[in-house]
Amino acid sequence: MALNVTVTQFAGGVTENNLDLNSTSSYLNALCGKYGLEATYLISPGGILSNIISPSAVPNPIEFLVSGSSLIADGGGSATISSFIGFNLLFIRNGISQSTIDNGSSYFTYDKTTGTFNCFPNATTDELFQLYPFI
């Protein structure tokens, strides 16, 4: 014969040994009856609590006198404080706590998702800025 072929027989097949397992476990599930319903509720996850932050994880406050090289430089009014992302912010300017409400006085805006901070009016040299993150 002019065509030579090597046949390697089937190997490695393993027969499942737990054919009754599914049906028996279904029977067990049914046998649990009304208790199973309660038990199902007990073993189910009750929900997810996300963003639980330990107080020790709160970043350190930032304090500085406005200068040409400070976090918010002289004449500037915005900064992205990435270390504060996820936290709320208390902003004290020259010893006076600031509000996010524009009532004609100075105020600030802060996006806790992006850490974007803006103060109004713009910073001037030697102003004392105190930024306190909190949960």
Partner: protein, 156 residues
Amino acid sequence: MNTIEDIIKIAKISQYLSQNDIENKGLYGGGTDFLLPRKLYNIRKSVEWANNNKIQEVDAIGYIKIDSSTGSWTSIEIFVNDPILGVISFGESYYLGSDDPAVIANTLLYDCIAIATAYGYTLENPLATPDTIKITAPAGRGAEINGGNNLYVEIL
């Protein structure tokens, strides 16, 4: 749909709940089967044992390797003696003028793959061994198809 692992957990808790219920219901356990906690325990232990010792099915694999060809043949046909379906043919391939084992294997694969797939078998032509056809048995055959002469070819 609860998994087996879930059902085992549920049964453990149900055993406690049913036992507690029977004891709190007073006379006749409120109609609850007194043996229910024990039944739950026994069957749960059986399921747990079987689940811990289960063996998953592994599909058997066979190979057909074209060693050499000198041209004077007409056709080659693949047969499988399937434990469920009996003897089946995947089809045949004809000599097309090339003696290259890789070409013959590739042609044979092309000619047989449709029927093989219809029967649940998987045919492959591994890149590393282009002269070889790898045949994977479908689910449900387990170890029954191993060995013997369940895979063979007919060359005319």
